[in-house]
Symmetry: C2
Subunit: 314 residues, 2 copies
């Protein structure tokens, strides 16, 4: 089956993606665009789009488009593009980011309980000052979102002997956690957590869901970790909540607007860690391999991996 | 059964241990000593000794001593005390340090792969510079010593999807690791490792076992982690080996002499992390509870937990 033309769009890695696809033996016609102007010229003839941050206004020019494969896990910008025909399939990368994101989360959690910053300062000063570190074991983690990323967090939290609660829309993985909460039970969910980790997709239902009320229900000394999407959290509410001590700190890899504004107070608030959206990087070869497998399924009319339920938003 | 007098010795926490034992309902007579002079006066009447770093020369004064419970995991100083009668039972704390030490090891490993120091510097400068971090997943860890600490490391390494090899004397836990090596196969053991973690006890057979030859067999870019005993590693050899790039770095929580000499080159060598023996702290209440349980076993003439094989040295 001739699948037509695949338009590969990424501002930095488009050619690397095309090269990886060729090395994987993908035989489809590839069109490559690095910028919106090139994309504008190529999108009318594209049957399939493999892209990251494709300019939303260009979807209206796509006459033949049947399938969009996002290079990442978050598709909120694609789904909200006004020109995207309702019949176009949208897929996102799944099952690839869990290990990286979980390593990021446990790196940050362990750095805090083991006081790594303080330990480094002792070493620089050549000071031998033993202390009894805190432990993750026995602490309670709440994982909001039990997709492939959330489930990888649960798995590692179990290896650290943490208690784990979960919140998800469908409840289909409720058996993995000690206590499961639905999306109407945020306040009960967060009340007893030591660590709340957000892995939710951004949808109309989740935008801004972590607001002043939810933050105020967190325990003093607890920690918010956002590795999902920045707009899950109302950032203004978060700044005020941190000032009030609930939660006691935050590890933030995603923000309402990225890059984070250099004037944001978050950069310098005590107890706040800011990282530049590095928790779950898209690795070109791995994403290319995911797409190649999906393309083979597409040719055979088999179910695609990571197919998005456009009504649910992920 | 009257167990006689328990001498509790610790330079900092002796009274806290005695208090914890009373709270646990231990009814034995307790004698408490904070310093060698007090210990010298009390040791002749002691039937049981619960101690950390008991002055070795005082064992010769013990006339009634039948059992020494070490407050930690390492007993090499007790076993080498010339005055310790061959009939005295020696026990060490087991099954308590694994989770703490494993959290320490993974904190340090994850801090390196996730470049936490660099990330903190970016935050201080309010710079948004994304990067693709390395991953633990797929790396190979070698665990030397498969006691309760080593096995906890294996368990967590599996949760991070690492390959795990092991080296131990008895091989009784060989089934937990991908490849198992005996103590005559150090060079083969270390040759393919990304990370070598030492959890061995210090015995005549293990003292200085990680020498120039073993270090030179490690891969460039590999990492040595010592959470066992400092004297497992020949420190002079290590300094030279690090200079030569094999291993590529080290995380050291224990040293030949502690505190580490402020003049040691290890404090400032690139790729070397020095911490002040904090990986597996003895927690007073937990160690007291371990001793209380062992004392109950002792009264009932049941096998003691953590009983040391004095010939094997641990």
């Amino acid at each position: 089956m001739d699948v037509g033309t695949v338009l590969v769009y990424d501002r930095r890695e488009a050619e690397a993606y095309a090269q990886a696809l060729r090395e994987l033996g993908v035989s489809a016609r590839l069109a490559v665009a690095f910028d919106p102007e090139a994309a504008r010229a190529l999108v009318p003839e594209a049957d399939i789009l493999l892209a990251w941050r494709f300019p939303p206004e260009l979807y209206a020019l796509a006459r033949r488009l049947r399938w969009v494969q996002c290079m990442g896990a978050g598709v909120e910008d694609i789904l909200s593009a006004p020109g995207l025909g309702p019949e176009v399939l949208v897929t996102r990368v799944v099952d690839q980011f869990g290990p990286s994101i979980a390593e990021y989360v446990f790196a940050e959690l362990l750095a805090r309980v083991r006081r790594l910053d303080e330990t480094r300062a002792l070493q620089r000063a050549r000071l031998w000052r033993p202390f009894v570190a805190d432990r993750l074991a026995g602490r309670r983690m709440g994982v909001a979102g039990l997709g492939s990323i959330g489930r990888e967090l649960v798995r590692k939290a179990r290896a650290f002997d943490m208690a784990v609660d979960g919140l998800s829309r469908t409840g289909s993985h409720a058996h993995l956690v000690d206590r499961h909460f639905g999306p109407d039970a945020w306040l009960e969910f967060v009340a007893e957590l030591d660590v709340l980790v957000l892995t939710l997709p951004l949808t109309p239902a989740t935008r801004g869901v972590v607001d002043a009320q939810v933050l105020g229900a967190m325990r003093p000394g607890s920690l918010l970790v956002n590795v999902g999407r920045g707009a899950l959290v109302r950032e203004e509410d978060l700044v005020r909540a941190l000032d009030a001590g609930r939660p006691g700190g935050a590890v933030l890899d995603v923000f309402e607007r990225e890059p984070l504004d250099p004037a944001s107070p978050l950069w310098e608030m005590p107890g706040v860690t800011v990282t530049p959206h590095v928790s779950g990087p898209s690795r070109t070869r791995e994403v290319a391999a995911f797409f190649a497998e999906n393309l083979a399924r597409y040719r055979r009319s088999q179910p695609l991996m990571g197919l998005v339920d456009r009504a649910a938003g992920y």
